[in-house]
């Protein structure tokens, strides 16, 4: 099916170097200025670095905040990652500095500059989900995830651009602006959390929150060369996340390292009485997994069973992506993992099942936007006309289309044929994942069938766009956790385009994903995935 929806492109894997002592798999003579292993050390956690430098007095939260605001001013005209930048950043940073100077305790995220996707409510700050219908809307409360970040000293720097209500895979479906990929400004950053991913890639913030209904954290992480973490369904409260498809939505985390994404996840996780689907399972202390490279043994992942999902490397996947994934599997083997192929027979059914379920749930969830209680209202002489016009003028094309498709799928007499059947397919997918994870600790696959493509390339072809979600939607249908981290580059742009590796774990076992992901990242020589067009913050 993929082959009919997404014609394969021929891309060659750019050379990159591997971790010390590993046998090289492909031609590895480096020609890329961004991946010259001799000049790149393993990526360091920005959260831990910030914590250390603040507590040692090496720098202040105000200085850090100023440098990020300056960076945003410099790069935002090209990138357009943010829909809103907070006016309170410096004030909040100064408060942290004052606490430190008074010898008071500060939270574990003190001074950490955080971007928040615009469909996550922030009190008093615009939260529009990139939709005209919510233009100028300022929620009266913080989402639980945001509340936790603030309580731990994190500084919300602004609201990031996205596909309207999370419906899209490129961030082109924002009602306000198109975000560019920092690796190549003519390409999309992925979506729907494209602003959050691009902002971290371009160092406009240290970490960010996104949301992932069918891959909206993982695919943009792959396109932008950052780490994207989608937790188990229920791990993070959805209170304050504008609902798209409630049975699939999760809040996820972006960082430039696995450790940063993991520590942000730890901060926002846990049961919340405002979300009955949030879990009471304990949240482990992930930080202990992020050991320094010096402490690694020669085979630090000895005995970890890894299943490479066969169906994700078949026809329709770019050759460069396939090679990068196979190289990543070899790298895991070199680290001590036992890698075998696994098959998920229901894999290809996930995509249509996902779109039936997501559209159906969205048609119900988005009924709340009626122009009466908040958001933009189009005045009319009769109530139904007010609804019709407020929604007609407030929603963009893709949102209207999905609401209508969902309305169709839920229509009388069609329910069994579409919605119920899609939920039965979800059962099959869950069973397949369970069987595969009974014999493996994690599963791996590409994060997307290709690297970032050109802006406008798939905008008018919904099926081509949807096909790009094939690697990620099944994970949402099963409610499992997954992490995407950069594993190589393919040709394209000024100096290559990043490719992400997806690791999928058992429910509530983010710990294993973070452990394996961290060691993979730290040992992948030349893993400084810094976009070539944008210099680092001084």
């Amino acid at each position: 099916m993929l082959s009919t929806l997404q014609p394969p492109r021929s891309l060659t894997l750019l050379p990159f170097r591997r971790f010390h002592g590993s046998k090289t798999i492909a031609s590895l003579a480096s020609s890329s200025p961004t991946l010259d292993a001799s000049s790149v050390s393993p990526p360091q956690s920005q959260i831990l670095t910030t914590r250390r430098s603040l507590l040692s007095g090496e720098t202040t939260a105000s200085e850090i905040a100023k440098s990020y605001l300056s960076r945003i001013r410099l790069t935002e005209p090209q990138l357009k990652c943010f829909l809103h930048v907070s006016e309170n950043v410096l004030k909040e940073a100064q408060e942290i500095d004052q606490r430190i100077s008074r010898g008071e305790e500060v939270g574990p995220l003190a001074g950490v500059v955080i971007g928040v996707k615009d469909n996550i409510c922030t009190e008093g700050m615009p939260s529009t989900a990139a939709s005209r219908i919510l233009e100028h809307y300022r929620p009266p409360f913080d989402a639980t995830a945001v509340k936790k970040i603030k309580e731990m000293g994190g500084i919300v720097v602004g609201k990031t651009n996205m596909d309207e209500f999370g419906m899209g895979s490129t961030t082109e479906a924002s009602a306000f602006q198109v975000t560019a990929n920092p690796w190549d400004l003519t390409r999309v950053p992925g979506g729907s959390s494209g602003g959050s991913a691009a902002a971290v890639a371009a160092n406009q913030c240290m970490v960010s929150l996104g949301s992932d209904t069918g891959g909206s954290v993982r695919q943009p992480a792959s396109f932008c060369g950052v780490v994207g973490l989608k937790p188990t369904y229920g791990r993070v409260s959805r209170f304050g996340l504008m609902a798209y498809a409630s049975s699939l939505d999760v809040i996820g985390c972006f960082g430039s390292t696995v450790a940063d994404a993991g520590m942000l996840l730890h901060a926002v996780s846990g049961y919340d009485r405002f979300d009955s689907t949030s879990s009471k399972q304990d949240v482990p202390e992930f930080e202990s997994q992020f050991l320094s490279m010096d402490s690694f043994e020669s085979k630090p992942l000895k005995g970890v069973r890894v299943g490479l999902i066969r169906e994700t490397l078949e026809e329709g996947v770019d050759s460069g992506v396939r090679s990068a994934t196979q190289e990543a599997a070899s790298h895991l083997e070199a680290l001590g993992c036992l890698v075998t192929e696994v098959s998920l027979p229901s894999f290809s059914l996930g995509l249509p099942a996902y779109y039936v379920i997501a559209s159906s749930e969205s048609s119900s969830n988005l009924s709340r936007y009626d122009g009466v209680r908040y958001g933009n209202q189009v005045m009319a002489d009769e109530l139904n006309k007010l609804y019709d016009c407020s929604r007609g003028q407030g929603f963009g094309g893709e949102v209207k289309m999905r609401i209508l498709m969902g309305t169709y799928a839920l229509s009388a007499g069609y329910y069994d044929a579409y919605y119920k059947r899609a939920q039965q397919v979800r059962t099959l997918i869950r069973k397949d994942f369970k069987a595969a994870l009974d014999h493996n600790d994690i599963l791996i696959s590409p994060a997307a069938p290709s690297a970032a493509y050109k802006i406008g390339e798939k905008k008018d072809d919904p099926l081509a766009m949807y096909a790009g979600d094939i690697m990620t939607v099944n994970v949402n249908l099963a409610g499992l956790p997954a992490i995407v981290l950069p594993c190589g580059l393919v040709e394209g742009g000024p100096s290559g385009l990043p490719v992400g590796l997806q690791m999928i774990g058992a429910a509530f076992d983010e710990e294993t994903l973070l452990k394996v992901g961290h060691i993979f990242e730290q040992t992948l020589n030349g893993s400084g995935f810094v976009p070539p067009t944008l210099p680092n913050v001084a």
Binding site: M1, E123, P139, P140, F141, Y233, S246, S247, Y271, F274, S278, S279, K280, Q281, P352, Y355, V356, S363, S367, R368, D370, G371, V372, R373, Y374, Q377, E382, L383, K385, L386, Y387, R391, G392, Q393, G397, K400, M401, I403, L404, T407, Y408, A409, L410, S411, G413, Y414, Y415, A417, Y418, K420, A422, Q424, V425, T427, L428, R430, P462, L463, A478, G479
Partner: protein
């Protein structure tokens, strides 16, 4: 919004209930007989044992009316083509043998996480009020609800 509540009823109810609900829906009063007939037809074809070969293609104008979204003629044309394309693609699900497979409404999760159903006072009421496009004292203000006829 009333439309959506109605839709939930529509999707979960037997055909006879659907006919009653549709015929009492205010906005459809001018053309209720046409819709009434259409729903009967659908219900006959697909009420329990779905036969994929007779699933009707989407009528975008009617869907837009049900979903309470005004569309321009060009939007109906453009959106309609795309929706039909995607619905066709959904059709592959009809080929899957799911007999005796239980539907999964969401990921597996623990139950019993419901909080006590007790009212609480939300402190930031002024902020909620500030978001309301039009209100009069303690009331949300909307145009008249009933149809002219």
């Amino acid at each position: 919004m009333a439309t959506r509540a109605l839709l939930a009823v529509l999707s979960a109810s037997p055909p006879r209930m659907i006919r009653i609900k549709v015929s009492t829906f205010p906005s459809s009063s001018s053309s209720s007989s046409i819709k009434f007939q259409r729903h009967i037809t659908i219900a006959r074809c697909f009420s329990s044992d779905t036969n994929p070969s007779v699933l009707q293609p989407p009528d975008v104008s009617r869907l837009a009316e049900t979903a309470r979204i005004s569309l321009t003629p060009s939007e109906i044309e453009e959106c309609g083509a795309k929706i039909r394309q995607v619905i066709d693609w959904f059709g592959q699900l009809q080929q899957v043998d799911v007999s005796s497979v239980e539907p999964a409404i969401r990921a597996e999760m623990e139950g019993g996480n419901l909080r006590e159903d007790a009212p609480e006072t939300f402190e930031n009421r002024e902020s909620i009020r500030a978001s309301i496009p039009s209100f009069d004292e303690v009331y949300l203000k909307v145009p008249k609800v009933l149809n002219k006829e």
